[in-house]
Symmetry: D3
Subunit: 322 residues, 6 copies
């Protein structure tokens, strides 16, 4: 069970409101590498985990990430405190309020739709989605995903620190960034405490293909490195000459039953495109005789509506010159 203390894990001191900065910081509130994603990744793993040690670690870190969600959300809330009041009380002229909404980021949506509260979106206003959570129920995969996720969160915090000159915010972001480093270390330790963690799963892979590097991108710029050469690798450069790798015909095939075959043949015959046809097409009809067009002759299409008539139609009551 969760409990809460109204003190934050880290004190938040914001010098002055700045909703545009607030909307950028949302990246770590409701963005793909933000604190909700982190908390939910570890929480969903933790409640399904059987290993007592990992379960405890996952719940520890999930709980701390929720606390970080609270810290980053509180920063955003403080940055929006001014805009929230002025829009709510309509204390400024309309034009001034309008201007204040276009100061940067997607802060316009933060004010109008979310009323200055921190929204679970990224810095472009994209709502958080559980598609960001890549828990797969196997610890040798999940711990690698966690390691990667912590490394991504670290770099996003670093970028946010680089654009912030409010010392209180910078300080809190530095704390949050550092905790991602510590968490990555925990996940690394847990992964390498599993014997034979590579490759994941029980199936060993087919030996013929496990050490093969297929050089599918060729031309100038082809290189070698430890990722494709050395004693752990067998390298294949002649792609087409080795197609397919299994020595078969390289086709996809299926065996159909009698009725299936009949249906298949009927459908295919009905829908065949005749390779010997030379049909007039909709594009042919549409490519009129106008200058700069691709086709040289008028193949029909619209009758020759004259310009005056066309312009007359254009002057609906909708628009007038000011």
């Amino acid at each position: 069970m969760f409990m809460h203390n109204k003190r934050l894990q880290y004190t938040v001191r914001v010098s002055e409101p700045n909703p545009a900065l607030g909307s950028l910081l949302l990246e770590q509130f409701g963005g793909p590498d933000g604190e909700l994603a982190a908390a939910m990744r570890y929480f969903t793993q933790g409640i399904a985990e059987e290993d007592a040690g990992r379960k405890d670690m996952l719940l520890d870190i999930a709980t701390e990430e929720l606390s970080h969600l609270e810290v980053i959300g509180s920063i955003v809330a403080m940055l929006n405190k001014g805009a929230k009041g002025s829009l709510s009380e309509a204390s400024l002229e309309e034009a001034d309020l309008y201007m204040s909404l276009n100061a940067g980021g997607d802060s316009h949506t933060q004010s109008i739709l979310y009323g200055g509260g921190p929204a679970l979106t990224n810095s472009s206003g994209v709502p958080w989605t559980a598609a960001y959570v890549d828990s797969r129920g196997d610890p040798t995969c999940d711990l690698r995903s966690n390691i990667a996720a912590e490394s991504r969160a670290k770099i996003i915090y670093e970028r946010l620190i680089n654009i912030t000159d409010d010392p209180g915010i910078k300080d809190a972001l530095g704390f949050l960034m550092t905790r991602e480093v510590a968490h990555q270390k925990s996940f690394e330790k847990a992964l390498y405490s599993i014997q034979d963690n590579f490759p994941p799963g029980k199936l060993p892979g087919l030996s013929a293909y496990a050490n093969l590097y297929v050089n599918t991108s060729q031309g100038e710029g082809d290189t070698t490195g430890p990722w494709n050469s050395g004693e752990q690798w067998e390298r294949m450069d002649d792609i087409e000459g080795n197609l397919p790798l299994d020595g078969g015909d390289g086709l996809a095939s299926v065996q159909l039953g009698e009725q299936e075959m009949k249906d298949y043949t009927a459908m295919t015959a009905r829908l065949a495109s005749d390779p010997d046809a030379s049909p007039t097409t909709g594009a042919d009809l549409g490519a009129g005789p106008g200058a700069g067009k691709l086709s040289d002759e008028d193949q029909g299409g619209a009758s020759d509506m004259d310009e005056a008539k066309a312009m007359a139609r254009a002057q609906t009551p909708e628009v007038e010159e000011r």
Copy 2:
């Protein structure tokens, strides 16, 4: 800051694994009215709230909803415990494992993609999205949204209780359902502790339109009730006769600058559809002479590819009769 105790708020006793039931229960884990949605709705409101009493209440309830997320997630994890092991260890024949994946709900995805861990999706596998969270930063709106959300969560739990005969699960679901009722009561109390909470906001509305009921759906089945008749209502039945309500021309208009007008006219002329044309169209070309077709004459199109040739083309090496 959040803290956690590894005991659940409510004990979970599952009689036996049942991944299909587990996939239905996901509705309250990662569905639109599930516990994550509840927790995030109150949490985002709580950290932006200025009223000390509401802030405390919102954080209390958000924290409890996270604890409920843990309870419902633990039920799902228990229901998947058998499937997780058998798929992971491949202890059954392929055909048996395959059959076990098609027992109902969207449990196939739960096993293959999520490996038996509770996923933040609804019962159709739709990933949770922050689009479910309707916090708007005004308490007279947000508390109404919370009241509505609790009522929805209550009914979903009731439906799940109605389909579950495992007594331990039924018991825990009953607890979770009841807590939604208690939370709804809290939010009601907080709403009605705000003076003048209706209508929301500061602007009072235009008196001409605030008590008007527009009977836009007519014909047999037209009724009256307290929602459209009585002393609080003025009712309008003659829609077209009162169009538009403001007494204007009912059109949309804008004033354009000189260059804008020029561009507008040019664009409109260039793209006019001639109402007097009688063009041959792509559909005309395509509506061949075949039986059961809409058009009576062959307007060209593909040349007359004969059946034998079409069938020959159909017999690609891809398919063969078994």
Copy 3:
């Protein structure tokens, strides 16, 4: 069946084009509390409703919301009329057109992708999703959701009115805002015309938990109010001392069959993280000897590539100094 008259329900008079304002107004066209969401919420409820009175009311209001969708969409279309023509006809210099796209909001996407037509997105360009529609097929829930939705729509219109100084737009927005107030009243009347509408559904809830307030968020700032104290409430402050609420062990458990147990044990053994290990990890490998790094010693990893070589590699033909 729906019918349409080309007059709007309310006349739209826009003083001059302003695509950035148009993109903000999209919040009520394709945003979560916009007119499409309203129309679809009531329409989906209406066609499944059995109560004749509510069905009629829901279809009345759904139809009016579609008419409001037309009004707000027409405002946006007018605000985009200038930009649409100039981009379509390319009548300005590229740099001027480019500048015009960055005037605020997400109007850049409105012009480039949607060509100046009103798009079913919110003010950040997020496409409308039916995840916004929370119809649940129970009127005591759905009417509460409708009440909440109307209150939210009202406040969004108020915010938009506060930022608009074009009198024609302000007037139309005032009309639309007021109608939300009237609709909220109708839904309130319909809800309270249902006897025993609280709690929703048939199941009454467990009496032990229905009046309990769990004070999960503690520390400074703890408050009382009618939402957690008074005769309707029993309050619990000692969370851990009452864990779990049911008096059990607070664990999640499931009974497995024999084969399930075997698989479970095998899987768990195979994937255990050894708590007594002290493994070298990928992070240990990667934490090199550089200044400002966390680890004090070089644990291997990359060979000592010298700076000159690294810089040489950096100068690909891609970039050159200007």
Copy 4:
């Protein structure tokens, strides 16, 4: 199988970095009419296609669209080359980096989240979704969808060309735009090489309704044209007089079994809204005595909290005047 040459299909020469322009160009990288959508539309059709000619054509064009994805992505990468380095190395003051992120479009997210790499989003930061891909497994539909998609891609490129004055980018966009024209022509030829391609499918449609034009939008502005008049059309203006078109009662009905009928009746009775009620509602409670409010009398609600107390509560330690 795919192969790759590190040369692009078209050379990309960018004069200078401009991340804001880069974020607009993303429309054709990860937007709905962008190159990934094109490639995936044709690729999914190609691998399921039975007609040898169309299969080859679809794979040809899919492969070329992937190559175009590489060209447009490379332009975006070049436009971000400067911002990427300066944010990564933090070589500028925070305030300068912050300013550089708000230069237009959604370039703030491109820098912070995606680190200057081209992201599979549109120009508003909306992630690409396979919902854009409308392959349906019938060539008479799919080819029409392809034709339409190519026409849309063409117009988006034209708009981007109109806002770009960098000659190298303009040149490459011109190439990409032109290829869409060529691809549209191919798809047109393939469609019209299918005999009897209209209407799609085998079922001919009901003759009573296939040539009927229902004039559902009436009032001023009603027009005729070849789309609703002429020998191919029968036109219906009296909508309500012809309701329903089939001559039935225009209702929806279903026959229920005995138990179903019993449940239905019980549910409906339980949840009826009494049309003769005159209930007090939540809104009645909430509409206080304040000026400008809709209701004239205080129906209770919050007790009369005095202003001083309210203001005292408002001054939490969170905010202080600077």
Copy 5:
């Protein structure tokens, strides 16, 4: 403005409830080619359209599609009438209700989440998204998109007709299918009433690339047809020999300023992967000595935790054998 008559455009007579069939029919309610998508496509085009004829046509058809949304939604509502009552009133045993939810399609979600009302999802429960709406504000594109959309909707109806043996539903689906045919015809007529409708837009395309067919997919199965040969085409088979098409170097390049160059070089040097390194990796650490693993030697990693200890850890109190 919209108005509504409670009669449907077409009478709906359903023989008996069948929620699984209902969930399949949702494809045309809330699926990508369903009636909401159709209505919104034409409605968004109609309110931004300047051509009086097309505007009228678009609003006519949009209004009719809304009426079709009502017809298909009413069918779904009728098919769910039995399940809705039995789940709401809990009149069956839990096990029977549970079974009834797993009868096919995604009807489980329809009952639990949506309570038997028609939901704006497709047949897999995916919520409708405005990403389906491809209006672009240019009629030569939009009309093509409409033509394609109608053809897709026609084929989906045909498939649904093929799987339905309830005569009342089959009849109504036949009506709806036929109307798509009629609408396609209208859009075709409107398109071909625009002079010079191909290619879309004002820019003609570069003549060097407009008639070129690039044979990017080669090998067995290469074909010719009117889509790549004949007088309208120039065909290119030697891809790599013509790379890039413009005669340049086929690279992407950008010119950087002095500081940009410095940052770029620093970043690149800092992050270079040394091609001459032979690093030990995390995978090397993790590939233990176990049978069936890829690597032959123990490179460290976790200490040698023995099996008994691992099994002891696995027997947490969570699971017990039944």
Copy 6:
């Protein structure tokens, strides 16, 4: 530039159609760890990469993943070959076709919507989204993400192999699975060829927090392991006693300007919830006198509509007993 050969990288031999299995295999076509996600992850990194070696490697592997997308898509297409023909040609009775759609997975949507072509969805029909792609433009993050993604893809293939007994499919899946292992090895080598790759980025982290393990989840089940104890760790068990970690007050604060302060105070006063109120609420109104309800007295609400009237209202013409 990409090129293509119509031979697959690996021959696909499917014994017989099975659309339900096909829908499960979609997990690796359009699921989060599927081949499109892999291809797009490496492709977006590759085109923005400056290191020549990594760029080459990323494009090599991206190209191979596209080829794998083709292999897995071809398997799915073969599995659907029978269903596609029979639904297209309607060769079976409706009831038989209907039954065939409910054989498992989400194959119903595959047939009805996608017509038997492989769709870019996962096994629950969720459309692929670029939210799955976690490229961040820093190689020390991106390579870790790639390593994790390959490990996830490996395990999904293993699960699919475990449920498939068609030898041809099993063979091809084994190939695809093995290639993920090889790719993971390449990414590992590339990561560890970067000197000082941990922590990512330039900022080193705050030493006070980098080695701290915060034991936020306590109670029974607390464990130690290398992830939270040993010489690399400092462990904190007393959470509340150390709140906040920075020694401040643990609050969030901001300094407001004079007008901002005025607005803030006005808003807060206006919207205060009076903690001393004892308001009657909507729930109080709605909790009628019925049995099993929470509240003991009738507080008004609906008038006492008698049962007969309610039942009369319930028997609309919509339903009749059969």
